[in-house]
């Protein structure tokens, strides 16, 4: 894989020109894209910027994020040849930091569950996960050092776990969503994929102009609470193994580690996530669903068919639960620096018929906490399994610093 932080260092020291860094990504895409299918379209003649912390960095953008220079097709024939007038705000933050957008990456239609044809670079017989399938696969295949995705249930953390890369779903509202196709306005969150946690930190700090995100001092030796989210059901053995391995490695590295049970209101928030998601989806996709019913992706359409009768009262009640649960989660972080939990039930499912299950992610999307996926071990078939490092809302610096601690602890074994 291509390390963003390493490229930055080499560019800053003059060891590598921005153009050469970009050319390296272009060559890697040429070498691997045919096998993986991570891109929907590519820039014909990408150029490196001369300034900015991300100069020379090739970035892939999930194809539900508006770009003025590329079509934005949302993974659906309903948006065939759709060309937005403007770049999304996150695309502009990348450009302003000097990054080069080299193409749009595959997305399940409207970032829901209908799979793409993208393959998992670790094992071509398995899904890369979704909905940010192409962004995760492009980074995992070593094609690009940075890619953007979005998460409404588990669409950033889960594919990162399946593909064995780092990813962050930042605190809700840290990255602007202007120009990102909406699924659920209470949930949708833009996230980053990169080779390692330090690479994520560099990317996010440059995009947000928040250098404090680079500070490893945000937490030195974390107090870790391990949560298994029992309310979400049992994990597969590989998922549970990933948490055990990461917790043990962190403890060996000096962290305090203890099992935690989340308050009941938090479990209730997990249960009502679909109420919020699907009620809002009926508004977000009203035009597509009502005017283009036949062309809708079947899994999303089926979900919308089944959730037509959610009442405003049920939605209001679900929102009230979410607000109470956020307060309860905030209290949990008075005793620990981070929570450590599953990124996915297990390794990537076989085949391309499913992008996997977001059941260990959706609570955290609703709570808005920053979540980082850290690859924990390689299961059977060469399939990676990650863990989720979660910090308090707004404390993305601590999430990144603690994830780096866990990442390094795992490397030391």
């Amino acid at each position: 894989m291509i390390s963003l932080a390493e490229l930055q260092r080499r560019i800053e020291t003059g060891d590598l020109s921005p153009d050469a860094a970009l050319a390296q990504s272009q060559a890697a895409i040429d070498a691997h894209e045919k096998a993986i299918g991570a891109f929907v379209c590519r820039s014909e003649n990408p150029r490196a910027a001369g300034t900015g912390p991300l100069r020379g960095i090739a970035v892939g953008i999930k194809d539900i994020i508006d770009t003025a220079d590329f079509p934005t097709e949302m993974g659906s024939p309903i948006y065939k040849n759709h060309r937005p007038r403007a770049d999304a705000a996150v695309v502009m933050t990348l450009k302003q930091a000097g990054a080069t957008i080299v193409g749009k990456t595959t997305t399940t239609a409207f970032a829901a569950n209908d799979p793409t044809a993208t393959l998992n670079p670790r094992n071509h017989g398995h899904t890369p996960g979704g909905s940010s399938s192409g962004s995760a696969a492009a980074v995992a295949a070593g094609m690009i050092p940075l890619a953007l995705g979005t998460q409404t249930g588990g669409s950033v953390i889960r594919p990162a776990s399946f593909c064995g890369i780092a990813a962050i779903k930042p605190s809700f509202h840290l990255l602007p969503k202007v120009g990102v196709k909406c699924f659920s306005w209470m949930l949708d969150t833009v996230g980053l994929f990169a080779a390692g946690v330090a690479d994520l930190a560099q990317g996010l700090a440059a995009m947000t102009n928040r250098p404090e995100l680079l500070s490893a001092a945000a937490v030195k030796v974390p107090r870790i609470g391990v949560v298994m989210q029992e309310f979400a059901g049992e994990p597969e053995s590989a998922g549970a193994e990933a948490v055990r391995i990461a917790a043990a490695a962190a403890e060996r590295a000096g962290a305090s580690v203890r099992a935690l049970k989340l308050p009941e209101i938090v479990a209730e928030a997990w249960r009502i996530h679909p109420t919020i998601q699907d009620f809002e989806a009926h508004h977000s996709f009203a035009w597509e669903y009502c005017e283009n019913y036949e062309a809708m992706p079947p899994l999303l359409r089926g979900r919308l068919d089944e959730s037509r009768d959610i009442t405003p009262a049920a939605y209001d009640a679900a929102r009230a639960v979410a607000i109470r649960a956020r307060a309860a989660v905030a209290q949990v972080f008075e005793d620990v620096d981070i929570l450590l939990t599953l990124s996915a039930p297990g390794a990537a499912p076989k085949g391309l018929s499913s992008t996997g299950d977001p059941r260990y992610n959706r609570l955290w999307t609703l709570m808005g906490n920053p979540c980082v996926n850290v690859p924990a071990f390689i299961a059977e078939g060469g399939l990676p399994v990650g863990v989720q490092v979660i910090a308090a809302y707004g404390d993305d610096a601590r999430a990144l610093a603690a994830a780096r601690f866990v990442e390094e602890a795992l490397k030391r074994g």
Copy 2:
């Protein structure tokens, strides 16, 4: 003016067909549009739906709200001939309720402060206010019974006050913003304009599928707190007079009325509104500002030029103030049902060089409370001046019921 509720009654009793109701609006537009200039474009062949609570109701949509059937030009040459692929969510809720979109209404460019050429129907020598200029003017001129606008500072309540009509800025999140051009995601709120408060209630209930918004029983005799928002400066005499008249009328009608002073944290929230608005605007308009600087509307461009240096830390601090102020405002509503305050400093300014001052509105946009404008009296020059009725966050039913109480009290004089 055309009363939506009255049209509904006549259609339901069979006294008027939906087609005839729509034709009435079309004829009124033909009669008045040339003088007022409220529309950017119109439907060539609008048709009434046969079902739905808003069948036969002609609606105008502010031209920053996406429509698949009309261009959406944002009041700016940068979006010349721009045609969105999809309808905004609020447009779909109107269509699903049976309403007919008859055209797009004028907006100041990107819903900022650069005026349109639209005239105030009450006095053609004055501004109708902005940024939802065309929506307010079209309803005030009796062309249509319902129009949509948006508010980031005071862009719904202020033009309603200047034009002498009713308007509601509902609780933040009550109406979806999907497909609405973003200025500030923490502030932007879709609102409704109509002839009277009962008309607003019918429109909002139909759009949201929330019949409880029609309940006048939400409050019978309101406990009213009068707030003059001293932190926002002195009003003109006409603005202060409007509040005095409305408070006295409400008291005569049996309401309990007392002066209230808002807590200092709320005044602080008023002060930091521009920090949130302008920091987010730099993201929302990044593409327009960076790639189309010369074509940007001068007042908005100037504001963006001046606010380039707002730091993420200042933005975070402003958001923290807003959260504390919301809690303080919630406490205020433990003792009163509604707050009564200024809708604008005074009557509509002369000429078209300014759309007026949102200084008495912006706090409430940031707080997210439902606000209703009720016309209070007619000042010199035939210019109306309204008052703002504000309820607790989420209690739109009470805001509407209390506004109706105040409206009826004012009619009784």
